[in-house]
């Protein structure tokens, strides 16, 4: 329809040449926002999960609350926060941390609860203190589940950042939105592809970090193949 009158390609090098700086800037905003949200979420989720693990009475309410919060859409959460935290970065960051937190707490708790009781008993029998038990036995054993949660949370956070458009701070989403308003297809497609690429790269980094952090899983996989 539009193509006949004005050339409006989905992918164009010309766009990158002209607005490369702007694209790069939004990619950086997107990446730093994601990483920052994930770091805060990890710092909060681990103690929360351990607390819930220590006292089973807390685990029910914590899981229930995270379940309810997860049902509230991000768009609505940003709207609930905006009147109090204002328009912009803070609101988006709080929302992102909240969602990542839900996934992380859940997965960490499931991981901790899934540790073989015999292993815990054995460590206790060897005279491990509760703290040492947690740090050297339970957490390493829960690591696969924690990593799975981290991967899900990171990938969804990259996608969620774009919803920040509603409060004017959506990283690459901002470019998609402007591209849509001005019917600039290259701008939309480029930022969408970059979003996917960012999610993929972060996911890959997590997989590599997990391989490095869990050498035992690597050798087990190799021995299973052999």
């Amino acid at each position: 329809m539009y193509g006949r009158r004005v050339d409006n390609p989905w992918l164009s090098l010309d766009y990158l040449r002209r607005s490369g700086g702007e694209v790069w800037e939004h990619l950086q905003i997107h990446a730093t926002l994601t990483v920052e949200a994930m770091l805060i979420a990890i710092a909060l989720a681990l103690p929360m999960a351990m607390l819930a693990r220590r006292s089973p009475r807390l685990s029910g309410p914590i899981l229930g609350l995270t379940g309810v919060l997860y049902t509230v859409p991000s768009f609505a959460l940003f709207a609930l926060l905006a009147p109090f935290t204002g328009i912009g970065r803070t609101t988006v960051l709080i929302g992102l941390v909240a969602y990542a937190l839900l996934v992380l707490v859940r997965n960490t708790l499931v991981g901790l609860q899934g540790v073989d009781p015999d292993v815990v008993d054995a460590a206790r029998g060897l005279g491990y203190s509760p703290t040492r038990l947690l740090l050297t036995v339970e957490l390493p054993n829960a690591l696969p589940s924690i990593v799975a949660g981290l991967r899900i949370a990171t990938v969804s956070t990259v996608a969620l950042v774009t919803v920040g458009v509603v409060v004017g701070y959506g990283g690459l989403g901002q470019l998609m939105f402007r591209g849509m308003q001005s019917n600039y297809r290259a701008q939309i497609a480029t930022s969408a592809l970059l979003c996917l690429a960012l999610a993929l790269v972060l996911d890959l980094l997590l997989v590599l970090a997990a391989r490095w952090a869990m050498p035992w899983a690597r050798s087990r996989a190799r021995s299973a193949v052999a």
Binding site: A82, A159, M180
Partner: protein
């Protein structure tokens, strides 16, 4: 906080529910139109878009999942589809569709929402069908049942709890996705938030957030009941354990 007071005022004003000019009108071409200043009309539009999206997704995902699950192939592909759909921002699809031949508005939203509603239904239907005990399948074939009978009379009933769970996930998620429609000139309850931000009426923004959150929680509750009812009695205990 004045925002809370403003939100209360907005929510208790009858005009914000019924709209200043009624709930429904007609477009220039005579088609019916939901008035964008009425909470009730926007909620109905919201549900209509959600169910249209889920219906489209289910019409495609259920048969495909049943078939793939029955022949027990394509498990890897279903996983890839659900992973990619998680990484794909909803806004990206919405804006891509709006700028394409599909155009702005509700049609783009319904198609995009249907695409996101597709993976949970497909994955759960596939897992439900493929997860049926091989012995049960063997026994059914041994009794001389045809493939079709095994699929529809043996595997499908056993897969119903998971299929119902998939439909619930997908519907809840769609109701939560549709608010984004407001960003691409569509309708639904997101309009309240978008208008509020644009006019700097943060009480209205807050009220919109509360309304959408309430709708999502309500739908989720309703569907969890429906899921229970849809699950055959002998299978209920195991479903609860799995959830």
């Amino acid at each position: 906080m004045s925002s809370i007071g403003d939100a209360w005022e907005y929510l208790t004003d009858p005009v914000s529910w019924t709209g200043a000019h009624g709930m429904f009108g007609t477009n220039l071409d005579g088609s019916p139109r939901f008035q964008q200043d009425s909470i009730i009309a926007l909620a109905i539009e919201h549900l209509y878009m959600s169910f249209a999206a889920v219906a489209i997704a289910a019409a495609l995902a259920l048969p495909l999942g049943l078939w793939l699950g029955h022949i027990r192939r394509g498990g890897g592909a279903t996983t890839v589809i659900s992973n990619v759909s998680r990484a794909m921002p909803t806004l990206a699809l919405l804006t891509l569709f709006s700028a394409s031949a599909i155009g702005f508005g509700n049609r783009a939203v319904i198609i995009a929402a249907a695409i996101f509603a597709f993976p949970p239904i497909l994955t759960n239907t596939f897992t439900g069908m493929a997860g049926v005990d091989a012995d049960v399948r063997e026994a059914a074939f041994g009794q001389g049942m045809t493939r079709r009978q095994v699929a529809l009379r043996v595997e499908l009933p056993l897969a119903v709890p998971l299929i119902a769970a998939g439909l619930r996930t997908s519907t809840t998620q769609t109701v939560a996705t549709v608010p984004l429609a407001a960003l691409v000139a569509g309708g639904g309850l997101g309009v309240i938030i978008n208008t509020g931000v644009a006019t700097q009426r943060y009480g209205q923004v807050l009220a919109g957030g509360i309304l959408i959150a309430a709708l999502c929680l309500g739908i989720d509750q309703l569907l969890s009941r429906a899921q229970r009812v849809a699950t055959p009695l002998p299978l209920r205990a195991t479903t609860v354990a799995a959830a």
